[in-house]
Amino acid sequence: MGELASVIFTAEFLGNSLRFATPLILAAMGGVVNERTGVLNLGMDGMMLIGAFSAFAGSYFTGNAWMGVLIAVISCLLIGLLHAFCTVTLVMNQVVVAVAINTFSMGLASSLLRTLFGTSTSALRSPGFENIAWPQALQDLPFFGPVLFQQTIFVYIAILAVPTIWWVFFKSTWGLSIRAVGEYPKAAETMGVSVTKVRYLALLFAGAMGGLSGAALSITGLNTFIDNMTAGRGFIAFACIIFGRFHPVGAGLGALMFGLAQGLQLRIQTVGIPMPYQIPIMFPYIITIVLLVAMGSGSVPAGWGTPYYPDEE
């Protein structure tokens, strides 16, 4: 058993896990902001999917991976705007809006894929992001090299996003407004904080992060797009937020754990442990269910999921 562990838990495994965790961290950092303003956003999977597709398509047509990222962020900002318009301005049911956004995104990405690229996409590759060219000495560091210095830029953005969001939440006036709006919107409104503005900005931010997250999925190696590429990662990011009790650090750790679960399943398959391959693939999803049940819904923002009607007593 000890021998098996040493084969599985290598530096390469940790590096892979961090890479798998990256899209989750990015999405969760966006999500935690809008959840904290009291808007239930179950539409992150759709956002990620649109992000992944537009990053690929943008990168393919412009020939520039950075343009791909920009287009992904802009597309997801539009989805975020749509979400905000429906849930904040039109005060629609937030779950229904999320279901609509997820279904719409999946359909849109699939149809555009076929319209723009035809039916056989297997050979199509867009420009993508390579690992950052750190000095060879750093890349060759034992353990730290594969974990920290053989990664794309997204990994570093994700790692930096966690303390940044923490700082915004607890050390800035914006964070105070965000937390107050999520807990008791009416109180915030009476203090001159516009609930509408805060919720719009938060959903737009979640959109932008969803775009980055999608790009981190499609154009960091694979450099292509396939139907339903997110495979529910948006929901896993949501689970990370719940697991992290709406705290950015907690959510980040949650995402890291899912990354590890995914790294593990890959490792088990490559090492060739005799078990049906479907079992390790289930790991991240099983963890999602177990954690959601175990953590329950403690410490949710009091105004979570509740639309705010400015004119109501």
């Binding site: 050390k171 800035s172 105070l176 107050a180 009476t190 001159g192 904080v193 009091a302």
Partner: protein, 512 residues
């Protein structure tokens, strides 16, 4: 002294209702001006126009002589207007300091700069003897202190016009005294205070001038020294008010309901009712006084089977049980007027007649083998509307469309027409106008006179004193004392409400 705030012919129209019509009001500097009116008279609407939460449809607002437009609360704050809301606008999960600086730009924007704010708050708190620690989380503070945080919020913004909306509703008599002292101190400093209230004593004790609103219009404007409570009450209601009920010596029957060492622990693990034993006889009203949130509601919900209790037992007409079931309790002849008519009292989208049979709908004559007897339900609805003076076009109207008073009458009709032996009434007149309140209290007394045992939970001490035969004061899940009505003075009851046991209160000459 000059006029700091003037409202001129303010009109606010909601769909179907004119909430304010041509309301004038002048607030003098350094004075307390009371805005008096029943619930629904349009006080809150008027203040929300002033505070920028609503836009008025007509009329003008002048602050320090200049006409102003107030589009949102930010505008109001900039004009030096601060509001202490009836339902505190505090975020429980945040600290005192965070609540106070919420929405303000910091000197080091966007950095929070909590330390500087905490220092300033401490200084303000010391100045007014508030004893507030800016680092405390608001949810850990008692209600009286939370109100001080609300006041600090306004003072921190250097407001010199303060609006206090029903500020005494949640306070003990002692806390009310403290609040009055603070208000007097503020006016001495030259600040002007507008109090919104429906309590006459408050107006008489605190204000220099009174504006009375009735049905959205000004019914009178007088200097407080020139008036008296009776005159104000008449202005407020538009007719003579008699708030005295006939006293009747009742013969007590046997004990109808009893709790033995009842203990209720809520979902968060907090003990709400602690080792509580009491007895209520047929033909008496036991009034439970206390500040909201001291376990009264849990007691009422436990003995009606709505929430479980962990220890002890409830004896209903001689049958002792350690576990209750709502339907079972109802079938034992208990009726319940729940605290929150919107959540537990009525199904708002359903019609009046349907709500009227919610408790007994499965029984004859309302249904027969599981099938509704529509004619009987219709007839019953029409009958109750007449008997209980429910103002509604017909019994098929959804209860959501009725006023609070009429909604409460539906609950009364449903719970009382079955002639219960035991009635549990929680805050039965909360939010009702004087007329409806009178009606509700008379109905409680009628039940007692009929021989029922009545448990009345109310945070309005006045209500308890008016109708109860015995008064129990509850504090943190325990009775601080049980007295016959008239045996204890208001200040004694106040002390008990604040957590002093009756046995520890120096006797003030009452007879046991």
């Amino acid at each position: 002294m000059g006029i700091v705030l003037e409202l001129e012919k303010i009109t606010k129209i909601f769909p179907k209702v004119i909430a304010n019509k041509d309301v004038d009001l002048k607030l003098e500097q350094g004075e307390v001006h009371a805005l008096l009116g029943e619930n629904g008279a349009g006080k809150s609407t008027l203040m929300n126009c002033l505070y920028g939460l609503y836009r008025q449809d007509g009329g003008k607002i002048y602050v320090r002589g200049e006409e102003v437009t107030i589009n949102n609360s930010d505008d109001a704050i900039k004009l030096g207007i601060g509001m202490v809301h009836q339902h505190f606008m505090l975020v429980p999960e945040l600290t005192v300091a965070e609540n106070i600086i919420l929405g303000l730009k910091s000197a080091k924007e966007p950095l929070l700069n909590l330390a500087a704010a905490e220092k300033k708050i401490k200084a303000l708190s010391d100045k007014y003897n508030f004893g507030i620690n800016p680092k405390d989380k608001v949810r850990t503070l008692p209600v009286g202190i939370q109100q001080r945080v609300e006041i600090l919020k306004v003072l921190y913004r250097e407001a010199d016009i303060l609006i206090l909306d029903e500020a005494t509703a949640v306070l003990t008599p002692q806390e009310v005294d403290e609040l009055f002292k603070v208000v007097k101190k503020l006016t001495k400093e030259g600040k002007s205070v507008l109090i919104i209230t429906h309590k006459l004593e408050e107006v008489m004790a605190l204000s220099n001038q009174v504006t009375v609103l009735r049905d959205g219009e000004v019914a009178g404007n007088v200097r407080t020294v020139d008036t008296n409570p009776t005159e104000l009450a008449n202005m407020m209601v538009g007719r003579e008010v008699l708030f005295e009920f006939e006293e009747k010596e009742m013969d007590l029957k046997e004990v109808y309901i009893e709790t033995k060492n009842l203990k209720v622990v809520d979902k968060k693990g907090v003990t709400r009712v602690n080792d509580l034993s009491m007895k209520i006889h047929g033909g008496e009203i036991l009034g439970i006084a206390g500040v909201d949130g001291n376990g009264q509601n849990e007691l009422a919900e436990a003995i009606t089977g709505m929430i479980p209790f962990q220890e002890g037992s409830v004896v209903i007409k001689g049958v002792e049980k350690t576990k209750l079931d709502v339907r079972d309790v109802y079938e034992q002849g208990v009726s319940h007027i729940p605290q929150d008519r919107h959540h537990t009292g009525l199904v708002l989208p359903m019609s009046i007649k349907e709500n009227l049979v919610l408790t007994d709908h499965y029984l004859e004559p309302y249904s027969n083998k599981g099938v509704f007897n529509k004619d009987v339900v219709d007839e019953h609805g029409a009958e109750m509307i007449e008997q209980y003076y429910i103002k509604a076009p017909d019994a098929g109207v959804p209860t959501r469309e009725l006023s609070g008073g009429n909604q409460q009458k539906i609950i009364l009709a449903r719970e009382l027409c079955r002639e219960p032996d035991i009635l549990v009434a929680v805050q039965p007149s909360r939010g009702l106008d004087i007329g409806a309140t009178e009606f509700v209290r008379q109905k409680l007394i009628d039940q007692r006179d009929r021989g029922a045992a009545v448990l009345l939970v109310s945070t309005e001490l006045e209500e308890i004193l008016q109708v109860s035969d015995r008064i129990a004061v509850m504090y943190e899940g325990e009775f601080m004392g049980v007295v016959k009505n008239g045996e204890a003075s208001i200040s004694e009851i106040g002390l008990m409400m604040a957590g002093t046991r009756r046995s520890n209160i120096e006797s003030q000459g009452e007879v046991e």
